[in-house]
């Protein structure tokens, strides 16, 4: 993340120790001291709210979760913590439901992230042509982004209804078999992945589009002169040029996929917390919630949270190694 979004250094302001112009102007000493204090302290005052907010509501709870994960804590008596060591973790990793949730998180994650980003890439490429009504098209593909998880899921629950839903009606029109989008494992996961894909494809397409517009035009002109087809221009120029942006969206969607909660919860209706009647689409986020709130076992839920954290760190490490290996390759 930090490597793709690193701040450019060329526009750095004057070094901090340069005496302020006011001092040279012969102002009273207290004013110049105040001025220097202002120069030194103001930046920290300006950035303090963010770091304060992050420390209190982000970092501190995260660390506390780690402590809770080593204890047995009841939601109703949160002040009573009984030391369990790594008991919560060993128990968790011996539970089928945990592995099921992990598997579901991965499959739904792949089913939603991969098609989403590929379609976004194609959409962005097409939106980059000279178009009539391009503004309108952009707003149209962004409309799902304005729709909340809750609203979108409730709508898709109707569309995927096995008995009267529009999806099955269309499929039967095509002569395809009746599909139970609620109860069967793969169909239900595909349906949930569809909700995620619907909400985010346009958003990612616009991010790609902006990156594409920053690619120098003469690259394309040179390629066209060399007789490169549009497809070759897309794969050899466009995609490599916007790779940092692609990496950025991959990171963001991966993090989103590991946290998936609202879509499966509401897709399951009355049995949402367990992720369907047979846990067929229970994600890690849902499992954590089920353990922490309905089951009231905060310690075990915290162990799920920290397992998710470890998972993210693992993904991050893999990504880092992958990106480094690619950076070492000569660029074409």
């Amino acid at each position: 993340m930090a490597s793709t979004l690193r701040a450019p250094a060329e526009d750095s302001p004057p070094p901090p120790d340069r005496p302020g112009p006011a001092a040279a102007a012969g102002r009273p000493a207290w004013r110049s001291r105040l001025h220097r204090l202002d120069l030194k302290a103001s930046p920290y005052v300006f950035i303090a709210p963010f770091f304060l907010c992050f420390a209190v509501f982000g970092l501190f709870p995260l660390v506390w979760t780690g402590w809770l994960s080593l204890h047995r804590v009841d939601l109703l008596t949160p002040d009573v913590a009984e030391w369990r060591g790594f008991g919560n973790y060993t128990r968790l990793w011996a539970t089928d439901q945990f592995w099921n949730a992990l598997r579901n998180t991965v499959t739904i994650g792949v089913l939603s992230t991969v098609p989403q980003l590929l379609m976004a890439l194609v959409l962005a490429h097409l939106l980059n042509y000279r178009l009539r009504g391009r503004g309108l098209l952009r707003v149209a593909v962004l409309a799902p982004y304005a729709t909340s998880i809750a609203a979108a899921t409730l709508v898709f629950v109707q569309l995927f209804n096995p008995d009267y839903g529009l999806v099955n009606w269309c499929l039967s029109g095509l002569g395809l078999a009746h599909t139970d989008w609620y109860a069967d494992t793969w169909p239900s996961q595909i349906a949930i992945a569809t909700i995620v894909t619907w909400r985010w494809t346009g958003y990612n397409a616009l991010i790609y589009l902006a990156a594409m517009q920053a690619v120098p035009k003469d690259l394309y002109e040179a390629a066209a002169l060399d007789g490169a087809s549009r497809w070759q221009q897309f794969t050899r120029i466009t995609v490599p040029s916007i790779r940092p942006t692609i990496l950025f969206t991959v990171v963001v969607s991966t993090i989103g996929a590991t946290q998936l909660f609202g879509e499966p919860l509401l897709f399951g209706g009355g049995v949402g917390v367990s992720g369907g009647s047979a846990h067929q689409f229970q994600t890690l986020g849902l499992y954590m919630y089920e353990l922490g709130w309905p089951s009231r076992q905060l310690g075990r839920a915290s162990a799920v949270a920290w397992t998710m954290l470890l998972l993210l760190l693992l993904i991050g490490a893999v990504r880092y190694l992958f990106a480094r290996r690619h950076r070492l390759e000569p660029k074409g």
């Binding site: 001025h35 809750a150 035009k217």
Partner: protein, 293 residues
């Protein structure tokens, strides 16, 4: 997308400037039109269902044109799911979060973009790095803190953890680094202006468009936020999303499918209106924030 033939390649060779700025062909329009339809159809269908009776929604084939039940459905969802309170709560929460994020992000973004201080680069990297830690993972202690303070089911429990976001700081930093001329700040310093004065008289006038875009983006995000409000609020004092979860959860209400869809429509309509009016600016903001990496 378009198939390439040898004559096609030849023609392009004679016409430099091809590539990214090519005129769109019929296939492009077809695919983009399809994408627009797929994007908009679920929203249109929400409207169709919200104007129907519950029985009509559950017909096979499903209805594709609006009916005349909208008013009845809106009344039902208003009475049973407390949509009025939910809309008001969501407006208050998203408004507060947007205002405070814009304020703090502008100050921090300005400091990172234009002020010199020890550890600036490292701290900015830290800001970006925090974006990779999902807040969902700290939700259990956060719940305890908030209920311990007696804020359970109160709006401040939703607002306070979101007062400022890393995304906003980074967004404003990227904008201000380019938009504010460093000479202008130095000139103000020569005139003896202190930092807050510079913010007020130099930075804010320049930053206003970016602040507006950031405000809209944060408002949308906050309005649509699900997990934490769902955990900490109840159906007695819900945001729109929590109320929708209550309707969709099923067991709590005797509500038919058409009323559920009406809830989804009522909860989404304010944002869709904002998008219809300001869509282009929002599009510009999303793309501006993400690319300058």
């Amino acid at each position: 997308m378009a198939a390439t033939t040898a004559p096609g390649a030849l023609r392009r060779r004679l016409r430099p400037g091809a590539g990214a700025q090519d005129k769109a062909g019929p296939v492009t329009y077809l695919v983009l039109g399809l994408a627009a339809v797929v994007s908009l159809f679920p929203l249109y269908w929400t409207f169709v269902a919200a104007t129907s009776t519950g029985d009509r929604v559950a017909q096979s084939p499903p209805p594709l044109v609006p009916g005349g039940e909208l008013w009845n459905n809106v009344r039902t969802v208003w009475d049973q799911a407390d949509m009025g309170t939910a809309l008001l709560n969501s407006t208050v929460v998203a408004g507060c979060v947007a205002l405070s994020t814009v304020l703090f992000a502008t100050l921090a973004g300005f400091a990172f973009a234009k002020l010199a201080f020890r550890g600036r680069g490292a701290l900015l990297s830290l800001v970006v790095a925090t974006m990779t830690i999902p807040p969902q993972l700290g939700v259990i202690p956060l719940y305890r803190i908030v209920t311990g303070l007696g804020w359970g089911n109160h709006l401040q429990a939703v607002v306070l953890p979101s007062l400022v976001a890393a995304f906003g700081v980074f967004f404003m930093r990227q904008f201000l680094a380019e938009a504010v001329p460093t000479e202008l700040i130095e000139a103000a310093r020569v005139d003896g202006a202190h930092s807050l004065r510079i913010v007020w008289h130099v930075v804010l006038p320049i930053a206003r468009p970016a602040m507006a875009v950031l405000g809209m983006l944060v408002f949308v995000q906050s309005w649509n936020d699900f997990f934490w409000p769902f955990v900490v609020l109840t159906q007695q004092n819900p945001t729109v999303q929590v109320a929708l979860a209550g309707i969709g959860g099923g067991s709590a209400y005797e509500i038919n499918q058409a009323v559920i869809m009406t809830g989804a429509l009522v909860g989404t309509l304010p944002l869709l209106l904002v998008f219809a009016v300001l869509g282009r600016h929002i599009v510009g903001g999303i793309t501006a924030g993400a690319v300058k990496s």
